[in-house]
């Protein structure tokens, strides 16, 4: 998509995904976050959780993926999130967002976006992102 068409209020195409436990273990391993709660239902339950959960960094990375899927030429300059609840494999995840600000500058276009990650109809993560794109 061309950044020329992006205005304040523009909705970012959603990223909808259901991860398997194996996918979460793979991420946790390659991201060097082998916490037991990320690796197994059984161990996570011993910690008082309902089962295996995603590392917060993985949820954050899915929001980042949504942005670069949408605007592949964008450079992500900042990403901030608040973790409001756990995110689990085996249940649909919906990442969404919209543009809250646009600044056209000599060197390119800067966008600010609000981001949401939902599971089971609840906002589990909210965030903000700043993107920079070449001038259209």
């Amino acid at each position: 998509m061309s950044v020329a068409a992006v205005e304040i209020g523009h909705e970012i195409p959603k990223l909808e995904i259901t991860l398997t436990g194996d996918q979460v273990r793979r991420y946790a391993t390659v991201a060097q976050m082998p916490g037991p709660r990320f690796m197994s239902d059984e161990i996570a339950r011993k910690e008082g959780l309902p089962g295996q959960i995603l590392p917060g960094n993985m949820s954050m990375a899915l929001l980042s993926r949504m942005l670069t899927d949408w605007l592949p030429d964008a450079r992500l300059e900042k990403l901030g999130v608040t973790f409001r609840g756990i995110v689990q494999p085996g249940k649909p995840i919906v990442c969404s967002g919209f543009v809250t600000d646009r600044r056209d500058e000599a060197g390119g276009v800067e966008l600010e976006c609000d981001l949401i990650l939902e599971q089971a109809g609840e906002r589990r993560i909210t965030g903000v992102a700043g993107l920079r794109l070449p001038k259209p």
């Binding site: 793979r26 991201a31 960094n57 670069t68 450079r75 992500l76 900042k78 990403l79 901030g80």
Partner: protein
């Protein structure tokens, strides 16, 4: 300023490096594997000389994540509250990442359920050319019953 911060932390330790580490050179395979684990499809992440997805930087956690002045038992009952990342130069295959860690902030907030303490650990990352790669602020929250 009060003499001590929440958890009895001396303010003089703030923003002073307590840990540093330097990675092995990042391999193309590590970058491709990280991108694949997220289902990424951007071609820049998968070529012979790939660029890492922005959040690849989170894997450089150093030797220890939180300041040694914070008692380890503090972390047993609290939880990860959030993260803010400022991205700099992208990480590429062959890069070496130097990570420096500081205790950036400790502050208290009062909500409906009482007082909560937030601990902000900051990791600052540079590549072998001295260029800023990322600054990551990780917030850890202690719920009211955990605050001593």
């Amino acid at each position: 300023m009060s003499e001590t911060l929440p958890l009895g932390i001396d303010p003089s330790v703030l923003d002073k490096e307590f840990d540093s580490s330097t990675s092995e050179p990042v391999t193309a395979e590590e970058i491709r594997e990280y991108a694949a684990s997220l289902g990424e499809s951007h071609p820049a992440y998968f070529g012979a000389t790939p660029v890492a997805p922005p959040t690849f930087c989170v894997k450089f956690r150093g030797h220890r994540f939180f300041h040694p002045a914070i008692p380890p038992e503090t972390f047993v009952r609290g939880f990860d509250a959030g993260k803010d990342i400022q991205f700099g130069e992208p990480i590429r295959a062959g890069d070496v990442v130097h990570t420096s860690s500081v205790l950036h902030e400790i502050y208290e907030k009062t909500g409906r359920t009482g007082s909560m303490v937030f601990i902000v650990s900051r990791q600052m990352m540079k590549n072998q050319r001295g260029e800023m790669v990322a600054i990551i602020d990780s917030r850890f929250m202690l719920r009211p019953r955990d605050v001593k």
